[in-house]
Every structure is written in structure tokens, then in C-alpha cells.
Point group: C2
């Protein structure tokens, strides 16, 4: 992944400190994974039981420190991010004590969602008066609004996924296995700028009724609806798009379900307006499906944030009352699932109210789709 400039990382740490202070926190504790990539552009070669922990104090984010296994300390290129001190620890030392020295008695800290329980429990044991909250609960929206530089990467990832879709629908479906089409999709994502393929779901006929079906040996046949849901990382940022195609001419009933999902997806995107909340997007998409009588068949939330990870806040789900803010990137992906028959899902990543992103900021009060593959029901061979 292309690193960002040092000032970008410094600015992210400062924003985290401000948000932490506003939330009544003394700082944020960051472990390997997307959070650490966000703040340091760093991923250990392997995530093991050895503790790596970036500590950003709410009061002095320019003097952050990172606890790191001594063996891995030299992999950290702290020069590139500026102002961060390494605190190496060696096998046999109590790494939680090393980390605790950077924290305050009675302090309250946000900690990365995916931090290991082993380490959280170690910190809790070592610093009994401190308290901890999961990052996405304490500071859910810290990574949610993307900068123009990040949005440009998200747009490139989306364009790569769309290019993969354009090619896959020209290839034959009937007679091939779901697994074969999935392998093609993976190859196409890599050919179109992705460095990592995270999922290539190919769900034919009755398998489409399972939103999490992946790809099996089932042969695709004439008459199948086929849900294609695929994505990965391109220059560190995620793509995720879904289209449902039909092998040969669809029936009127199949067309109807697809039309409902398409209208629901449009309604979800249209609901992204200044002042709207995340649950408004879910409600708008769901209303279309409910009104058409398919409410029972829409069994998941309408969307999820995306960025350095495929799933991150904000979630487009009932109860999520966070207002949609400029630069938020998330999926809008309603679906209808008819057990034993087929499923339909249509998914685009959208960015809310983009500004300062060349080519995307014509409508700064609306959502802009980062996926532009056709949303009508395509017929494949």
C-alpha cells in the first residue's frame, strides 16, 4: 500500500486525540490491523501473541509511543510518520507492564476492536483503575469520514471491481461451476488493480437465497438467477459490489423481484441527504421491499461502512442514529431471499457528499456511487 505523507498520519493522530478528549477519554490504544495502518501505515509481518500497541494520548498526540516486540522494532519505520517513540520489549518481559507505563491510573481508553482479549485482560490486570472501551463504540466514526485522498483510492478500487464485472458477464455461465466463475472473478480483481481478493461469492439459483453462500461445485444452469458479490483491497482500500444476473431470459416473477431490489437500492442511495441518519438509509430501502410484500425476504442490514476494512462503521441498520457526514463511504445493498428458489441483491459503495475529489464533487449534497455497473437485470450466457 502506498504510504500517505507523514503529515497525514500526524493529522489523523491529532483528530483521534480531539475526538478522544470530547468523548471523555484519556487516549486511544491501537493494535495491529486497520487501525494501526490508519495511524502508522504499519502492519507486522505476522500478528502473533506478541503485543504491538500504539498509544496516543488525548493531551499530546504529537508524542505518541508504540510498544513493539524488540525483534520487530526495526520493521517500524517511524521516520515516515514522525514524532512517535518506539518502546521495544523483549521476550520474558511483561509487555503489559511496559504498556501500562504509558497509561494513566484511572484513565479511560479506547482500544482497537480486534485487540486480543489476551492483551486487554493483561492491561486490565496491570492497571486495575483504568477502564477501556471498544474503538467502534467509543469513537465509532473516527475512520468513517474519508479524506479526498482516501476517497480517490476507494473510487479506484470501485472502478477495478466494476471492470471485473464488465468482463465476467461476457464469459459463459451455463455449464460452469460457481467455483469456476468465482476463480475468474478473483483473477479479474487482481488484473484490475487489487492486491488482495477478500471474497468472490457466486450464488446460483437456490444458493442465492443464502446471503452468505460463497461458491460451490454446483453447476450453473440456464434459468438460474446468479448473485455475484465480490471485492478486495486496492492500494489498501476496499471494494465491495454485488450484481445479480440471469442465465438466459428471466421469468416475469424473477424480473419483479429484481425490480423491487433495484428500486430499494435506489431509495437507499436517495436517502443519503444532509441531515439523514444511517438508519434512514436502511428504512428507505426496507420500505420499498416491505411495500412490495417481500419484507420477510430481506434478512440483513442495508449496508456497512468500508475503507481499510470491508466492514466498519457506519452501519446502515435500524437503531444507528448517527448523522451521515461528508466523506462517509458505505455500501447500500438491499436484497430479497426466497428460500429454495433464488435471491437478488444489488450493492454499490457510495460516498456521502464528496468535496474536493476531482470528478466526484458535482453533487455535494448527495451520495455518489463508486460503482457504476449497470443495475438492470443483465442476461448472461
Amino acid at each position: 500500500m502506498t504510504p500517505f505523507a507523514a503529515h497525514v498520519y500526524a493529522e489523523r493522530r491529532r483528530r483521534a486525540a480531539i475526538q478522544a478528549a470530547e468523548a471523555g477519554l484519556d487516549g486511544v490504544l491501537v493494535t495491529p490491523g486497520p487501525d494501526l495502518v490508519y495511524f502508522l501505515g504499519y502492519t507486522p509481518a505476522a500478528v502473533t501473541e506478541r503485543l504491538t500497541l500504539l498509544v496516543i494520548g488525548a493531551e499530546d498526540p504529537d508524542a505518541a509511543a508504540v510498544v513493539v516486540p524488540r525483534l520487530e522494532a526495526h520493521d517500524l519505520e517511524l521516520g515516515a510518520v514522525g514524532g512517535i517513540e518506539a518502546r521495544p520489549w523483549s521476550d520474558g518481559e511483561d509487555e503489559h507492564a511496559v504498556a501500562a507505563r504509558l497509561l494513566r491510573d484511572g484513565g479511560r481508553y479506547a482500544i482497537s476492536d480486534a485487540a486480543w482479549a489476551l492483551h486487554l485482560l493483561g492491561l486490565q490486570r496491570t492497571l486495575r483503575s483504568a477502564s477501556f472501551a471498544a474503538f467502534t463504540r467509543a469513537l465509532p466514526m473516527l475512520r468513517a469520514s474519508k479524506s479526498p485522498e482516501e476517497i480517490a483510492r476507494m473510487a479506484a478500487a470501485g472502478a477495478g471491481a466494476d471492470a471485473a464485472f464488465r468482463e465476467i458477464v461476457r464469459r459463459p455461465f451455463a455449464g460452469r461451476r460457481e467455483r469456476d466463475v468465482a476463480a475468474d472473478l478473483a483473477e479479474l480483481l487482481l488484473a484490475h488493480g487489487h492486491e488482495q481478493v477478500d471474497f468472490t461469492l457466486v450464488c446460483a439459483g437456490e444458493n442465492g437465497a443464502d446471503p452468505h453462500h460463497e461458491a460451490s461445485d454446483r453447476a450453473i444452469r440456464e434459468g438460474d438467477m446468479v448473485v455475484l458479490d465480490f471485492g478486495g483491497l486496492a492500494d489498501g482500500y476496499g471494494s465491495d459490489t454485488t450484481r445479480t444476473v440471469h442465465v438466459g431470459e428471466p421469468t416475469a416473477a424473477e424480473r419483479e423481484v429484481h425490480d423491487v431490489v433495484r428500486a430499494a437500492q435506489q431509495a437507499g442511495v436517495d436517502a443519503v441527504r444532509p441531515g439523514a441518519t444511517c438508519e434512514d438509509v436502511d428504512r428507505a430501502a426496507r420500505a420499498v421491499i416491505d411495500d412490495a410484500g417481500f419484507g420477510e425476504g430481506f434478512i440483513h442490514r442495508t449496508g456497512h461502512g468500508i475503507g481499510l476494512t470491508t466492514h466498519e462503521p457506519p452501519y446502515m441498520v435500524a437503531g444507528e442514529t448517527t448523522p451521515i457526514a461528508p466523506g462517509m463511504c458505505f455500501s447500500v445493498e438491499p436484497g430479497i431471499y426466497l428460500p429454495g428458489r433464488f435471491g437478488v441483491r444489488i450493492e454499490d459503495i457510495v460516498v456521502a457528499f464528496p468535496q474536493g475529489v476531482p470528478g466526484l464533487d458535482d453533487a455535494p449534497e448527495a451520495a455518489v456511487r463508486l460503482n457504476t455497473s449497470p443495475r438492470e437485470l443483465l442476461v448472461v450466457a
Copy 2:
């Protein structure tokens, strides 16, 4: 990975319950990763923010339950493991409340090391009177002693890694980049029964002085010591072996360092005797290196347990006073690292006191190496 028979999983749950009760715990909480593979033979397609949690009560391990996202519930083939009830939860539900209903007020539970902080904090918040301990602290040795069936898989993994080594040393080193040799090693591991390559470290000359150097564009040259450390998973179980080779004839000084490491490694293996503790293995290997005057150059622990993961208890490190028990599988891998010059490490996986494993149980009071590649300093071209 080939599943084990249902009674194997049931027996593992029962042993966990017994150990939990002995440790004063009310049960164990298992999240995706090696622990869940151990107890259920199950890995979700993707580990996301959605909670999957197996709860094994200390009092009734035959009535375990697994909290699982509704979308993934059908991926769980509970028939194959017997006696486990699924507790699906849907988006929008409070999954920690669903899990907490399976726990006792005031209960004390072990939880997988790599459980997400998000979920541990969710459980702590939901069930304030409960307390939690990391699996490897509360029940460190639960997975440490392998069954004959597991040891047979470990032995096959080790044999595959040795076969890769036999082939790599016949290929040219001089003039190729570390990265090229690493790619060859990865390919050879896959060719020899591995389904996953976890690491292929190739560390030439001065890079060998960094135990965690991976592989770079540095060209390997005549006169280089080259550390090769590689492994992965074969039928679910880990391999991990290191040999240090020399391109062309080594100097007397290089031979001396290699001899010391080889003697240290032998001493570590010899220290595996009934009644010995893990730190005894570290002490024995370290003494040889200290006595030869290279103590400053041995900057890591002597070994780590291995099984479903590459690093797991028991650790061969000062302070680890756990007695070595029959069936424990761990690495013995001392090294000497001379900054700016070169490094030497020799690593075998050993199994302690194997019984009931055809071909390995001739010396039931000793360690048996699962890697049998030559340990003398091999000269490569």
C-alpha cells in the same frame, strides 16, 4: 483440514470442562481461530465484527452452545461434532446479551486469547459480575499435549518441510535474490503436503543477524551464511524448521558459530526429560551459547509450542516452570546473531515422550525430533 471423528471433539470439550473446573472456572468461551477449530473443526468464512462464540460449561460440556450470526448458522455442521446447540442472532440484536444468557452471574470464564476486545468488553458490560481470563493464562496447556492422531499430522507436516529443505539445497543460491529462494520454498512446501505457507524466511549474510528478517531483493553471494526458516500448515497442523546453510566454503569463524548453535540445539533437545520444565530447555540451550561467549547474540526464547497455530503454549523461556508433559510439541531453536555479519539458527519441532504413535515411540522418555534434516553446516552453490 480432515475433520476428526465426532467423539474426538466431544472428548476435547470434556477435557476442557475438567481443566476449567480444576482452575475454578465456570466454563470456556471460544472464538474463531485455532481454539474453535480444536473444539468444533469450524472456521467462519471470514472473521468479522459479528460474534461467533462457543460456550462450554464446566458442569455440562456435553450441552455446549454456539452463538453464531444467523447468516452463518447453516455453515456450522453441528451434526459432525454432536451435542452442540446453535444460538443464532440477527443483525440489530445485541449479540452480547444473547451470549450472556448462556453464562452465569458471577461466573468466571476463560476466553480465547484472540477474542476481539470488542466482544470481551461487550460481555463485561453485559454481565458485570462475571470475570474473564485469557485462555493461555487460565488453561495454558489445554491444547499443548497432542493426541497420537495429532502427532501423526505434526510428523507429516515436519516431513513435508524436510522434503522442501532437501530440494532447496540442491538449487543454486549464489546470484539469486532472497525473495526468489523464498518463493521456491513456498512452492516446495505446497508441493509437499502443505495447504498453507505461513512464512519462508531467507536471510543472507548480515540479514541473518535479524531473527525476523523475511526475504528481500538482496542478492545472495558466494561467502554468505543463509538462514532458512519456513513452515505452514499441513492438514491443519503446523510445521516450522530452520537450517543455516553456507554458499561455498565457510570460514573457521563461521563454522565455530554454527557448531555452537548446533550443540546448543542438541542440549535443548536433550533437556527434554521426564520432570524437566519448559525453562530447563531454554536454560540448557542458552548455557552452551553463554559458555562459548556468544550469550549476547542469543536474543530470543529457545522455543514455542506448535499445533493448530505456529506459536502457542508451552513457551521454552525463562520463567516458564510448567513441566513438560507427554505429547507436547514445540520448537527448539537457539540462534546466534552477529549484527552486521551473519546469523545462525537451527530449529526442529520436537514431541515430548510420544506414546502410541507408530514409528515415534521407541524412546518414550525422550524428545523425538519431527524434523530430521541434517544439522551440520551444509554448503550450497
